[in-house]
Every structure is written in C-alpha cells, then in structure tokens.
Amino acid sequence: MDEVPMIQLLNPEGERVSNSEYESSLSAAEILGLYRDMAIIRRLCNEATSLQRQGQLALWAPVQGQEAAQIGAGHALLPNDFTFPSYREHGIAWKRGIPPLDWLRLFRGVTMGGWDPLQYRHSNPTIVIGNQALNAVGYAMGIQRDGADEAVMTFFGDGGSSQGDIHEACVFAGVFNAPVVFFIQNNHWAISEPTTRQSRIPLFHRASGYGFPGVRVDGNDVLAVYEVTKRALDNARSGNGPSLIEAFTYRMGAHTTSDDPTRYRLEAELETWRHRDPLERVKSYLVRTHGEPQSTFDEIAADADHMALDLREGLLSLPDPAPLSMFDHVYTEPHPLIEAGRRELIDLGFGGEQ
C-alpha cells in the first residue's frame, strides 16, 4: 500500500515537488510558523511522556511522527469550524488555542474532559473508538439547518476506520451531503495491529463507496496536508459536501505509555520513517531555500523548553478535584440519587470544606 501515489509538496529531503492538483500557498514566514507549531507539540509531548514515567500522569498518548498531519490540518481550520477529535489530537488542540495543561487533565485523572468545547470549538477527547465521527456528522447536520458556512472535521485512525460508527457516519454524511471532513491519520499501527488487519484496500478508496471524494496525502508533509485539508474544508463550507482525507503517516512512539512496540514491529521500519520525519524536512527546506539561520531553530527549541517547563509546573500544581464534584453535571435537573450520593459522602466526611 506504500506504493499508492499520494499528494506531496515537500519531499523527505526538504525539496519542493510539484503536484498537478495542489500548489502550496504558504509564505516562508507561515511555513516557519508551522515548523514552530510542530516543534512545540513534539517537545510538549516528550514532556508529557516524562511526566507519565514519573508517575504524574496515568497515561499519555504520544503524537510523535504525526505532527505534520495535525498541524497542517489544524492550520486549515477557520475559527467557526468545529472539530471532533479522538484522544491523540494534541496538535489540533494546540491549533484551536487550547492551553497545553488542559490536554493533560484527562490523562492526569482530574477530569473526563479538559476544556470548554464550545469556547474552543473543539470537542472533548473521545476514547471509544469512532463514536466522535457520528457526533461530528450530527453537528454538521445542525450547520446545514442553520444555513451557516461552517465546516466540521473529525479525526480517527486506521484502526478506527474499522468501526461500524465510522461506516454509519460516512453513510449519513453522504446521503445528507453534510459539511464534514473525515480526517484519517493512517499511522500504520492500531496498538499492535498493522493497517493490513484493518483494510485490504487503501483507506481513502473507501470514500468512493459512500459517494464522496477521498484523497491520500503525505501525512508527514505539512505543506501538502494544509492544502489538501483547506480544499476539503472549503468544499464543505460551500455546500459541496463531505470528503475523506487519509494522511499517510507513522506513529513513531508507542500507542500509549502502557504499550511496548518492540513486541510487534521492527526497528528497520522505524528507521525508514525516521527519514521521513515531518519536522526535519521543513527545517531543511527553510535552511536551504530561504537561508533560515540555525539561531531561528535554536530560539524555537528554547521557547518549546520554556513551555515544557511551564507545563510541568502547571501539572504538578493541579489540585485534585473535590470528591463531591463527581456528582456535578450528571443531570441538569435535580435527581434524588445524586442528592443521596452527595449526602452520603458528606456524612462520611468527604465533603471537603464547603
């Protein structure tokens, strides 16, 4: 499946390549901005992994290797668009302006969500694989009814593509022509299972079965991901319906901090993908084509280090939620079992200071 052609505008060597359908519209300054985004989330992600190893997070789902897919896609969103992530979309969360500390709350075990989804127009992490795609389509059906020129984008992986909910979401989106973009990050591994265990055909081919366009993009090429996603979102916003993007990328790290990829994949494969690193190619391009000095990259790394330190400090000072908060927002209206549970915890002395 590696041989299937895909949209690429910047090759792994950092050279611009031409494509008959897409052209990069980004200035050097914007490309540098995307590099900065990718460098920051990679650094923050490493920090989160360390925090998990030090017992400060219950779990972490690293994004390494998928930075271009997420930053490129996230950059194409307009403020009024709405996104429905799985649990690994830290790059999208960053592009939606959600403070990094909020990404970690769920993994720390202090909340089930982390941020106000309506404020950032980025829904909660969804851990049940595939559920979010149907919610995204429903939201998009609401946009249609409101007559708004907004788009929805939902994220899932090659593993998620096997779920029935993804199928139903594509059926609904297709027949209702909903303004939604299905963004698959094919990172090649669903924990220990390779993509060949999910599909006999390239995943983007599935779109044709639902009657809308599908495209494979080099998911490690931030320039290409941006252009492909921008066009898909433009189409959705202007009433041209849904589409599917398969970002061909690779999960360089473990599935989560609880995983051990050495049990199921070969070092040689990892090595191949190291040469396709999403950050290195942008750096090479900016240095070679635009003469960007090393100091620029050093400054970005220093900024990222600062943010990582802030993130660490923020996390370590996060208070545990009050026990009674488990009863909050279960219902909007009074409920006798909520009252009874709350009363019991208070009687047992777990009511806190209130």
Partner: protein, 328 residues
C-alpha cells in the same frame, strides 16, 4: 374543545406536534417516520407539515441516528429519535451509554444532551423476535439518563413534551400494546411531572408497583381482588428512572405488603431494584417479603406462547395471595 378522546399513539403525535410548534429546534429522526409516519404511525403527518429537515427519514442505522442526534444536541438542537422497535436499540447502545449519558458531565456541564429516544417497548402484540423486548433496565442502570414511560394518552401527550423540554436525555419507553387505547386528553391542564408516580387505584391491603403495559393488567387484577375483599393500591411509576420512592414508601407504610410487576426478565431489573430499595426503606413497615411478578429469565418467547410469559391477572393475584398469607 380542549379535551378529546385520543389513542395513546395519536396523543404522542399531538404532543410531538405541539413541541415542534413551540420550539423550532425540535426535530425528529428515525426510520420510516416521514411519509410512512412510522411503523406505528406515531409521527403521521408531521413531515408533511414540518418538512424533511425537521422530520428526518434516517438511513437504517440506529447508532447513526443516536450518534447524529448527539451532534445535533451539541449544536443546540433538541432531537427526538425514534427507534423502530425495542430489540433494535442495541446497535445504538454504545452511543447512548458512552456519549448521550456522559457528555454533559464530561464537558463540565457545557454540552446539553437535550434529546429524547423514543422506544416502543414490551410485548403482547403477537410479533416476531426482537419486537417485544423490555430493555429499560439497561438504561435505568446508566447514570445520566432518565427513563420515562407513559401508560395512557393524557400522560403521553404531556410527558413527551416534558421529555423534549428537559435538558437531560430521556429514554421514552412507549408500551406498544397500549398504543391504541383511548383516553380523554386535556390539552390545557398539564399532567403531573413525569417524576411523580401516580396512584391509579387506592387500596389498603397491598401496594402493587408497576409501569408500562402492566399497569392495565394490575388494574384488572385489583378489580378481581376486590371481589375477594382485597384492596390493592396500584401505583404507576411513570418515571422508571429516577423512581419516586417517597410515593411508594408512603403507600408501603400503609399496606405493609408489596408486589412489583413488570414484563422485563427479573435479574438485575428495575423491579428487583425497587424490591431491594423498598426493603431497605420500609423494613419496619413490611409484613411480608416483597414479591416480583415478571417475565422469565429466557429470551422473549415466540408469540404463540407469550401469554404464558407475560405477567397476567392470575400471576399477580397469586403474588398477592403470597404476600397476604404471610403474617408477621
């Protein structure tokens, strides 16, 4: 004229219509609910009057219907999903339990899951497999959901509107064997809130707690028992979750005896939970163990033998005998 004699199916239809007239955010989604008006005709005529954007014939995919309703609710809509039959709700079970029930809490109260999932439930209509089930216990077990069940046209007209107006998600279980029974519907005087159980017949000897299609069966049993000099107090829960325990407990304190009746299989059921809770709440008032009359622990049987499966007057009277014979 504000009062009219309507079937329960028609009363729900009119309740839906009134909710849609009052709030443009209310929309219906389900299989065959448009031109056909639903297999039970509960949505008859609504697509014609409100259009295809508000009465949506959905693809034949229950998880899709509920999952899309979740997204519509996030956008501020108030979707009312129709699941065609009880036994077809399970493909949507994941969305109901994982998203519908939890999104309000997960989002810190930001998302309102103001949606209703209507399910024609219970048996007694001579149907084939998967058309006669009682899945309410699964939903009652799930925090974040409310489970309501109307048993007459007047309640149905008002309770569906109450469910739609609620910001909490409501699983609305409609006893399909009672769809065609008529009652006077007063369109001006709202029914009592769904969370209040209603005493359908007052009595001093035994408290009969029930819901759904069994309410009518219990009222028949109460009539028969009267001939034997026994006064049954029949209580219609209306809200299966939460249960109105103050009303039940007040009755039990008076009678000291309880029979719980529903069609669902008995293990880990609403009826079982009511028996346990009342035992705890009313231990010193009880004069006999609480007895359940329910379906059996079998898959819902072929319709030719469903009468032997469903709680009937004889089985209810037998349970009444058992609690009455117990002297303490």
């Amino acid at each position: 004229m504000t009062t009219e004699n309507l079937t329960m199916a028609k009363a729900i239809n009119e309740g839906l219509r009134r909710a849609m007239e009052k709030d443009p955010k209310v929309l219906l989604m389900g299989e065959d609910i448009g031109k056909l008006g639903g297999v039970f005709r509960v949505t008859d005529g609504l697509q014609k009057d409100f259009g295809e954007l508000r009465v949506v014939d959905a693809p034949l995919a229950e998880s899709g219907i509920v999952g899309a309703a979740v997204g519509l609710a996030m956008r501020g809509y108030r979707p009312v999903c129709e699941i065609q039959f009880d036994g077809f709700v399970y493909p949507a079970f994941d969305q109901i339990v994982s998203q519908v029930a939890k999104q309000h809490a997960r989002s810190g109260g930001v998302y309102k899951m103001a949606l209703v999932i209507r399910i024609p439930f219970e048996g007694g209509i001579g149907a084939i497999e998967h058309h006669s089930e009682s899945p309410e216990s699964y939903f009652a077990h799930t925090a974040g959901l409310r489970v309501y069940s109307p048993t007459n046209a007047y309640d149905a007209y008002w309770m569906i509107q109450e469910a739609i107006a609620s910001d909490d998600p409501v699983i609305f279980c409609e006893p399909k064997s009672r769809y065609w029974e008529k009652a006077e519907v007063d369109r001006e005087t709202p029914a009592r809130p769904a969370t209040e159980a209603q005493i359908r017949r007052a009595g001093s000897d035994v408290t009969v707690v029930t819901y759904g299609a069994s309410v009518k069966t219990c009222l028949r049993a109460a009539q028969a028992a009267e001939g034997e000099g026994r006064q049954l107090e029949v209580i219609d829960l209306r809200s299966i979750s939460p249960v109105d325990y103050p009303t039940l407990a007040a009755s039990v304190e008076k009678t000291g005896r309880v029979v719980v009746v529903s069609e669902a299989p008995p293990v880990a059921s609403v009826a079982g939970d009511i028996a346990a809770t009342l035992s705890e709440m009313c231990f010193y008032s009880l004069r006999a163990p609480i007895v359940r009359v329910s379906g059996y622990h079998v898959p819902y049987p072929p319709s030719r033998i469903e009468e032997e499966y469903l709680p009937n007057v004889d089985r209810i009277l037998d349970a009444v005998d058992r609690v009455m014979e117990c002297e303490s």
